[in-house]
């Protein structure tokens, strides 16, 4: 006979581990393999444009009008040669050598002067608590929200009236770059914020005035950020298109490499005829910049994650 049992026992919750045991290892291995495949794909996708650029820079086949290295529409095979590089330096309509030199000079001066200005700015903003500091930083934040390009119009007029445009745009560009560079203080300031104020105070007790504190104590310690600033300042002018094109207008003597290379491929006609030359020019520009970047990558990550991300 069935008896009534009032189930008054509390409900017991038993954790359910009903999965297949031992298949976790297999799952892990599958996951890892998939990841390796993905990584290989990523590597290919990210590297192949550069491989192609280098290959194309060596392609000498004027009859082939199509910019791709292996499948020439005319059925001709790939012809190798250094001609593209030679053309860069001999074509009077496209004085690549001058552009390179221009950009190099601009980069050099900008690197040095900009670093000085940025360091002055960021050190002061980090260390000194003067009246109006907050106001100044906010004001710069607000000014920074305006598209920088707008200023070029005025500056062009002024600089051209001083003769610093057109073929003479190199000093003009340098001036433009360094004059407003103080606004890019954030990363450096972030770095200086991490240097303990106790160091300053100890130096001042030892009798140094503020200038000596900066130059004897802080700067030697600030090597990573100084290097970072110098290198970023050096690399930036190589890629600046907007300001350089405005200032140089149509005068090819005053171009930097960015504007010049752009001219190679901007119109449909030059795009095919000058394609390989463009690649050669690109390679020549990439080499120094890439080497510098690889060298500076350590400082880049330090600078970016140390300063910019935390705001």
């Amino acid at each position: 006979m069935a008896e009534q049992t009032n189930v008054a026992t509390p409900v017991v919750y038993i954790p359910d581990n009903g999965r297949k045991k031992g298949s976790q290892k297999k799952n892990k291995r599958i996951a890892n393999t998939v990841i390796y495949i993905v990584l290989v794909l990523i590597s290919i996708i990210w590297i192949f444009p550069f491989i192609f650029i280098v290959l194309e820079s060596f392609r000498v086949d004027p009859a082939c009008q199509v910019p791709n290295p292996f499948f020439s529409m005319s059925g001709k095979p790939f012809v190798w040669g250094f001609d593209n590089y030679a053309v860069l330096f001999t074509d009077p309509k496209y004085p690549f050598g001058k552009w390179y030199l221009n950009t190099f000079i601009i980069a050099l001066f900008t690197a040095i002067l900009q670093t000085i200005i940025v360091l002055c700015m960021s050190y002061t903003l980090s260390r000194s608590r003067f009246k109006g500091r907050k106001l100044l930083m906010n004001a710069m934040l607000v000014i920074g929200m305006f598209p920088g390009f707008l200023t070029m119009l005025v500056l062009y007029k002024v600089l051209s009236s001083m003769g610093l445009s057109g073929s003479n745009s190199v000093p003009g560009l340098i001036l433009v770059y360094i004059a407003s560079s103080g606004m890019g203080y954030h990363v450096s300031k972030g770095f200086f914020d991490t240097v303990p104020k106790a160091l300053d105070e100890a130096a001042r007790i030892d009798g140094a005035n503020r200038a000596q504190v900066l130059y004897k104590i802080i700067l030697p310690m600030a090597k990573p950020i100084v290097i970072y600033t110098v290198l970023t300042a050096f690399m930036a002018p190589w890629g600046d298109f907007v300001f350089a094109s405005i200032l140089a207008k149509a005068d090819t003597d005053g171009y930097n490499v960015a504007v010049g290379l752009y001219k190679f491929i901007s119109s449909k006609t030059t795009r095919t005829s000058k394609y390989t030359t463009f690649c050669a020019g690109g390679v020549l520009v990439s080499i120094p910049v890439s080497i510098l970047f690889m060298f500076m990558q350590k400082y880049y990550v330090e600078g970016v994650t140390g300063g910019a991300v935390k705001g």
Partner: protein
């Protein structure tokens, strides 16, 4: 039953560094076991292997009778409290504690009801099916074990052969390194120049020596394991058989009896249940008023409690704690220690606790496992470990201030034993003497250990009292810690209750720095250690390496100024020179 059994557990990292050697332990259900030892001794690593956060290189870990080597941490039914609390920063305290409860599905047994709401009785086919499946699984596992055995033996043999080969190589390396070292040393001495620090040849020699000793030990341990293989397997097979028999009996019973029927369902834990569990845990820990706060708004002690609470609500059978009190300040630590003891009574689980603080180990543990450099030094209850340390390391690690050690002579004259130290004679009587006789211990040079609290001051000189000169004394309130100097410039620490010194003025005079005092101790508090550092009366089964402190039997490699060990030394350690 939530016992944890570790058999021959070993942890080897990718760079061939052995972090844990041959860890064997049987933790009984509801026992509180403490792993204690200095930094780097492998205690955390072992704990993490139990938890499943580290791969087990060799050996097995089983929880509740089931081998868990291949199980994910979440399937092992364990809960863990971390040193840095590991609270999810953006979740409230309540959510932190409820986190794991929300993740899993749970099996609930619901009674099967008929139309009238009464529970149906009948043949419980569900459980019968389950049991049958389990029998099949067990049989399959028994098969696997039987199949594995020869394979395991073959593997061990191969390892042994490889180890012996390496040992031979290491011996030759050792010989050459020793030769080089001796010639270099002779050269320096001939020139009368001091030996350089660090002395590269010496380091290489020491490293080669260490390597060779490691390998010798390795061979020993493999042989031991080979011997144990069939015995272990037999035990496992017997266990299986027993289990199967029991299941068959159950099936027999269930096939003919009407029992109340239950349905097993997989459900998410309902909110009410989660709420109840969290609330009761919070009440026990006294954190109900913080339930809505985020971790950043809590103090260290409160965070610790939340971490414990998070582990508590899971009702798991094994509780793992990785140095939970290390991040708290001293006063809070004492308080939490007492609370942990109280908590232990309320929670019905097995505890495995890791710490580097021997006070915690002694007060909290039912049993203590003392480890050093990956080797287990001694396993025992706090009292055992305190009264009968197996080696010098355990003796000096447990107890504060540290035990005093002396180089002395054990002299046996016929059936009488005495210890000769600094020209004084301390006779051994009573049980200790009997024990020594039983083991037929001969006269030998020993290390004598006497704890500071076991020494007492004597007014007069005597042949069984040491004459020591006081260097400093520390006033601790109810007692004095006297630091005195022995004739061979060794420092001795003695704990003296203030009461025994009489009036304050007399006390001050009696133990002023510079005074000579007479210190004695009884035979029964003496700890006798042989030349290798093992307790004469409590020899371990397996002589573990790295037994001692301060140079006896230990190989120490000195790094250079910047703390680096040069490449050659490293290579020698790995046996590559």
């Amino acid at each position: 039953m939530a016992n944890v059994i570790l058999k021959d557990v070993k942890k080897i990292y990718d760079n061939h560094v052995v972090a844990v050697h041959d860890f064997n332990l049987e933790i009984k259900d509801k026992e509180f076991v403490v792993f204690v030892g200095p930094s780097g001794c492998g205690k955390s690593t072992t704990l993490r292997m139990i938890a499943g956060l580290e791969e087990i290189s060799e050996g097995t870990v089983s929880i509740d009778g089931e081998i868990v080597n291949d199980l994910e941490p979440k399937d092992r039914n364990i809960a863990m409290v971390f040193q840095n609390y590991a609270l999810y920063p953006h979740l409230s305290v309540f959510e932190n504690m409820a986190f794991s409860l929300r993740l899993k599905r749970y099996l609930v047994k619901e009674p099967v009801l008929d139309q009238n709401g009464k529970q149906v009785m009948g043949i419980d086919n569900e459980t019968i099916e389950k049991d049958k499946k389990e029998i099949l699984a067990l049989q399959k596992r028994a098969e696997n074990v039987k199949l594995e055995e020869p394979r395991l033996v073959a593997r061990l043999e191969k390892q042994k052969v490889a180890a012996i080969k390496q040992n031979e190589k290491a011996k030759t390396h050792l010989a050459s390194a020793e030769a080089k070292f001796n010639t270099k040393k002779a050269k320096y001495e001939a020139l009368g120049k001091p030996l350089p620090v660090p002395f590269r040849e010496e380091n290489v020699y020491l490293a080669a020596k260490k390597r060779q000793e490691d390998l010798a030990y390795e061979i020993e341990s493999i042989e031991r394991r080979l011997g144990n293989v069939s015995a272990n397997n037999q035990k496992v097979l017997d266990d299986f058989d027993e289990h199967i028999k029991q299941l068959e009996a159950d099936i027999k019973y269930l096939e003919v009896t009407n029992v109340p029927l239950f349905k097993t369902k997989r459900v998410k834990m309902p909110e009410q249940e989660i709420y109840d569990r969290v609330l009761s845990a919070a009440k026990t820990l006294g954190i109900t008023q913080y339930l809505l706060r985020k971790p950043r708004a809590l103090s260290g002690g409160q965070r610790q409690r939340v971490a414990i609470g998070r582990a508590m609500v899971r009702d798991s059978k094994v509780f793992l704690m990785d140095e939970p009190l290390s991040n708290l300040d001293a006063k809070l630590r004492n308080q939490m220690r007492a609370e942990l003891i109280l908590l232990r009574q309320k929670i019905d689980s097995t505890f495995v606790y890791v710490t580097h603080d021997q006070t915690e180990a002694m007060t909290l543990g039912d049993r203590i496992v003392i480890m050093k450099d990956g080797y287990t030094q001694q396993v025992g209850s706090p009292q055992e470990v305190f009264d009968m340390p197996m080696n010098l390391f355990v003796a000096t690690f447990i107890g504060a201030p540290q035990m005093n050690l002396f180089k002395a002579e054990l002299v046996r004259t016929g059936k009488e034993y005495s210890v000769h130290l600094y020209g004084k004679k301390f006779p051994i009587k009573g049980r200790k003497a009997e024990h020594l006789l039983e083991l037929d211990v001969k006269s030998q040079p020993i290390t004598l250990g006497v704890r500071p609290e076991h020494m007492y001051l004597q007014k007069e000189k005597s042949t069984s009292a040491l004459d020591l000169k006081i260097l400093v004394n520390e006033m601790m309130g109810s007692e004095y810690h006297i630091h005195a100097q022995a004739p061979d410039e060794k420092q001795v620490v003695i704990r003296v209750p203030s009461i025994s010194l009489g009036e304050e003025a007399d006390a001050a005079k009696a133990i002023a720095p510079g005074t000579t005092i007479h210190v004695s101790f009884e035979g029964k508090v003496m700890h006798l250690f042989d030349a290798e550092g093992y307790n004469l009366l409590n020899q371990p089964e397996v002589k573990v390496k790295e037994t001692s402190i301060e140079g006896v039997g230990q190989v120490e490699i000195k790094p250079d100024k910047l703390g680096r060990k040069d490449k050659k030394t490293k290579k020698a350690l790995e046996g590559k020179i």
